[in-house]
């Protein structure tokens, strides 16, 4: 989603615009740009992050300007397609959010009239249309142009001949004005304004607004004045975004039942893939980085158990440089953003090797989604906390759906059996909810373990990668050193590290490895390490030989990863919170890693 900000007042516009723009980052974007009116109009824009733009910006004088983050719709993400766009004279600049439906006909008309287009965007046709009406008054030119435009838009325009003035307009895309003393602001959303003012005016559809340092004037498309009093925003920036939760991560942890639902909707009865899984491969390779790699590892067990397809998982950064054997597996690539550089590299390598490719990602239209043969979207919604939570769990859901469809299409899964599995999938949102309902209990456990310097996570079978995910969450946000081991591997080395100062989180849910896990926990207890067991509800045995138990609903083994992971997310969250760590923005980490 695009974002627009604008400023006019007494202060230097550039730093204010960049700061406001960053507050719209959550909307997602692929390029960014600014236009400042000083003694002349200066426009700087580029593909990529705001920080990238900032690095190449000269100090631009001028107290009026606008800035924009673009989410590509018409025309690829690129420097030339980034906003703001300028007219032929280079004196008019417009930033636009939305889609102009009749841009092709306007563009053809303008080109006939001699206007020269630089980009492929729908926006640029509007710029030239405004230019064609401009006779010294930007407001009337914008009004005349908008009468001819169909579509949804929020726009902001500046002209070098009218310094100190911004003209905005909206139709079906959000636009708000921030009212300050001797300065005024314009933005796509309130969070961009809150640092500067709590007085806002909401612009409605088919209205035009003119901002100067000293005033705001609203009118309709016919030029009639609209009078409206500013409203006061009574909440802070942080509240507005976190919807009452203390951190984004906690908000997102609690969104997981809904996110699972979204991912399942309409897909349980029939994941519509046109027989994609029926033929063309005899095995599957799952490739990913970070948390998505843990989902890939879990996916190996899911695909092998439900669909009886041989599967293996590999890190994207390893796969892409490995020498491929002659076998041609289906390559499933997992990436939340669909922009992870190593995963994209792996995907291209898989295609080069002639493999069928399937993407599992959360961002519609991402590079991964565009280039693979087939994409299954997780519908987790926007994830702001750097530590992945709901995107991981929805990746698991996508893998269950793939295994179900794959098994049915390949004849390795019977319909009776599939019905039972479908009922289990339906129950997943509530299995996760049951864990969330224990948040306060988990908080007390986390307080007990808060002073640990090292922790170990152990599990077997499908819960081994789940243990890895649990350890990663703890490392990421609480900075406690944590390692995961396959429980059976303890005696081959790691036991040497165990002491009474190294608590162990043991995943000991009732599945076919339960008895073995109990023996492994015995080995740990014998070294004096405190043990926190994640066990099935109603397990009265395990409480006898571990220090603490965190209960999760009892499910068939292969479905345990979702509720167990959520229990460990909450444990990591509460532990980090008692240690007062910056949970949503851990040091050295970025949300999506678009560098190799």
């Amino acid at each position: 989603m695009c974002g627009i900000v604008g400023y006019t007042g007494q202060r230097k516009a550039l730093p204010i615009l960049l700061d406001s723009l960053k507050r719209l980052e959550y909307r997602g974007y692929d390029s960014a740009g600014v236009a400042i009116v000083g003694s002349e109009l200066k426009v700087v824009k580029d593909k990529g992050f705001i920080a990238n733009l900032e690095a190449q910006l000269p100090a631009i004088e001028g107290t009026t300007g606008l800035a924009h983050t673009r989410w590509a719709t018409h025309g690829a993400p690129s420097k030339v397609n980034a906003h703001p766009h300028v007219d032929c004279s280079g004196r008019l600049a417009i930033a636009h959010n939305g889609i102009i439906e009749n841009f092709m006909e306007i563009r053809e008309r303008m080109e006939k009239e001699g206007h020269v287009f630089a980009s492929q965007t729908d926006t640029e046709s509007l710029v030239h249309l405004v230019e064609s009406y401009y006779d010294g008054n930007l407001e009337t030119a914008v009004r005349s142009a908008l009468r001819e435009v169909r579509g949804s838009f929020a726009i902001a325009a500046v002209h070098a001949d009218e310094p100190g003035r911004i003209v905005g307009a909206r139709n079906e895309s959000p636009l708000v004005i921030g009212v300050g003393p001797d300065e005024n602001f314009l933005a796509s959303d309130v969070p961009a304004l809150l640092k500067h003012t709590d007085k806002v005016l909401y612009i409605l559809d088919k209205e035009i607004v003119v901002l100067t340092a000293s005033g705001v004037a609203i009118s309709d498309l016919e030029g009639r004045t609209v009078s409206r009093e500013p409203e006061r925003i009574t909440w802070t920036l942080e509240d507005a975004e976190k919807g009452g939760f203390e951190h984004f991560m906690l908000k997102e942890i609690f969104e997981q039942p809904a996110a699972i639902h979204e991912t399942l909707l309409g897909r349980i009865a029939n994941l519509d893939v046109n027989g994609f899984f029926a033929e063309g491969f005899t095995s599957v390779k799952l490739v990913a980085c970070g948390t998505s790699y843990h989902a890939a590892l879990v996916g190996k067990y899911i695909l092998e158990e439900i669909a009886q397809i041989p599967a293996s998982a590999e890190l994207a950064s390893e796969y892409r440089y490995a020498h491929g054997p002659s076998e041609r597996p289906l390559v499933i690539l997992l990436s939340q953003s669909g922009e992870t550089a190593d995963t994209l590299g792996a995907m291209r390598e898989a295609k080069r090797r002639g493999c069928k490719t399937l993407g599992i990602c959360n961002v519609v239209g991402s590079s991964l989604a565009r280039e693979v043969d087939k994409t299954i979207y997780t519908r987790a919604g926007l994830e702001i906390g750097v530590a992945a939570t709901k995107t991981f769990v929805t990746q698991l859901v996508a893998l269950y759906l793939i295994a179900l469809r794959g098994g049915l299409d390949r004849g390795t899964l019977g319909y009776e059996e599939a019905d039972g599995l479908k009922d289990q999938l339906r129950s997943l949102p509530r299995a996760v909810q049951a864990v969330l309902n224990r948040s306060e209990e988990i908080e007390r456990l986390a307080e007990k373990y808060r002073d640990a310097k090292d922790m170990f996570y152990i599990g077997r079978h499908v819960n081994y990668p789940v243990a890895m995910e649990g350890a990663l969450k703890l490392k990421e946000i609480s900075y406690v050193h944590a390692e995961a081991y396959a429980a059976g591997e303890l005696k081959h080395g790691p036991l040497a590290l165990l002491t009474p100062a190294t608590p162990v989180v043991a995943i000991a849910v009732r599945d076919h490895t339960y008895e073995k896990m109990r023996s492994n926990i015995g080995e740990v207890v014998a070294r004096g390490s405190p043990v926190l067991a994640i066990a099935s509800e109603g397990d009265r045995e395990i409480v006898k030989f571990v220090d603490d138990v965190l209960a999760v609903p009892e499910l068939p083994g292969i479905f345990n990863p979702a509720p167990v992971t959520v229990a460990m997310q909450l444990f990591a969250y509460h532990l980090a919170r008692t240690r007062q760590c910056p949970i949503d923005k851990p040091r050295n980490l970025a949300k999506s890693v678009t560098v190799e």
Partner: protein, 396 residues
């Protein structure tokens, strides 16, 4: 104008349906009850809403967030101990200006109800209505249109005019609230009584909608009201020879198999699968991802998310919690019954089954009218259920 919505209570009389979510979040017509309240405010231009939350607050926060999706700007105040309605309003005070309205989050209201409250109340006011069970409520004694007093759950019949729990107030109420709090009284009707002694409190009547849910079977009335005017929407895959009559909202990604008969008003959430020759009768709401087996009949019932009913089942006048699954031949037919809730017996004229979330039923289970099966119970094939089965139980 700002609004306070009270949404902190658990709703213990709702049986299994408040096991993991507060009463205000129970879905009727596929939306939580509280959403209708917020909607009625927004429709009247009241966008600034303070939600007083407590029990399972995260369920409310996750759904409503900052309110943007509902056209509102929502602030949350957590009432850690549910001392009373006056205490709840006092907790919201820092976010209120002089005049404000108070609504109960578990009473379904429409835009007209809220509109009348906002427009007709010039000073403090209470919305009153007629009730056929006044002893469950605060009965209002009037002098003309002025409130004399509110008597909570009177043991003797005073009148059938009751307090709806919807108020228009200003900051002067806080003086009474604070004084009464010192005496250990934390309910809003007491504060209104004290207020009425010193100034006129208007008793306001409205033609708008106000439906309260005290007990689980009341949810069916709310559901009927919610889907009476449901939009006629078709989405997903509808096979040939499906009959659809009346207003029926079919959500995205639904699959309706051949021979199914759907008589509106009905509301089907996204991703539902309706089996061949299934029959859905008014006024039924199905949540998301619900599966209805072949030849199964469902009438006047609420089936929440992820319910799976096997083939050849009959469900009437029932409320079925999320994730309940039943193999073939579940029989939950409607009839008159005495139902026990919180140690009180209630004679209910028409009721089927009340099934808590994630209960599992084998095939051929019969549930007698008015039975309650609490959450996560497992019932073996062929069982016959009568009365109340506790949570997490096993019935052989």
């Amino acid at each position: 104008m700002k609004a306070v919505i009270l949404a902190a209570g658990e709703g213990a009389r709702m049986g299994p349906f408040t096991a993991s979510e507060p009463k205000v979040m129970i879905p009727v017509g596929n939306r939580p009850i509280l959403e209708y309240v917020v909607q009625a405010l927004v429709d009247n231009g009241v966008q600034d809403v303070v939600l007083v939350v407590g029990y399972r607050r995260e369920r409310i926060l996750s759904h409503f967030q900052e309110g943007k999706a509902f056209g509102a700007r929502i602030r949350y105040v957590t009432q850690t101990k549910q001392l009373g309605t006056a205490h709840a309003v006092a907790e919201a005070r820092p976010h209120l200006e002089d005049r404000f309205v108070v609504l109960n989050g578990s009473n379904m209201v429409d835009a007209r109800f809220v509109g009348d409250l906002i427009e007709q109340a010039k000073g403090p006011a209470v919305v009153i209505t007629q009730s056929d069970r006044p002893r469950q409520y605060g009965v209002v004694t009037l002098q003309g249109s002025r409130v004399v007093s509110i008597t909570e759950k009177p043991t003797q019949m005073i009148s059938n005019l009751i307090n709806t729990g919807a108020y228009a107030l200003d900051a002067s109420i806080f003086t009474d609230i604070e004084r009464l709090a010192a005496e250990g009284k934390n309910d809003l009707p007491s504060a209104i009584n004290a207020h009425a002694a010193s100034q006129d409190v208007l008793a306001l009547r409205t033609e708008g909608m106000w439906i309260d849910a005290l007990y689980p079977w009341d949810l069916l009335r709310l559901n009927q009201a919610a889907i009476a005017s449901t939009a006629d929407v078709r989405a997903g895959t509808i096979e040939s020879n499906v009959t659809i009559r009346g207003r029926v909202a079919v959500g995205d990604g639904c699959t309706i198999r051949s021979g199914a008969y759907l008589q509106g008003p009905l509301s089907l959430g996204a991703g539902c699968e309706i089996g061949p020759n299934a029959v859905l009768l008014p006024s039924t709401s199905l949540g998301r991802n619900v599966r209805i087996g072949a030849l199964t009949t469902v009438a006047n019932s609420i089936l929440m998310d992820d319910v799976s009913l096997g083939a050849s089942s009959v469900v009437q006048d029932s409320v079925i919690g999320s994730g309940v699954s039943a193999k073939a031949g579940l029989m939950a037919a409607s009839g008159p019954a005495d139902v026990k809730i919180e140690d009180e017996w209630h004679a209910v004229p028409q009721i089927g089954a009340l099934l808590g979330e994630d209960a599992e039923f084998g095939s051929g289970v019969t549930i007698e009218s008015g039975s309650i099966v609490n959450e996560r119970t497992r019932v073996a094939s062929g069982a016959r259920i009568r009365g109340t089965v506790p949570a997490g139980g096993v019935v052989l």
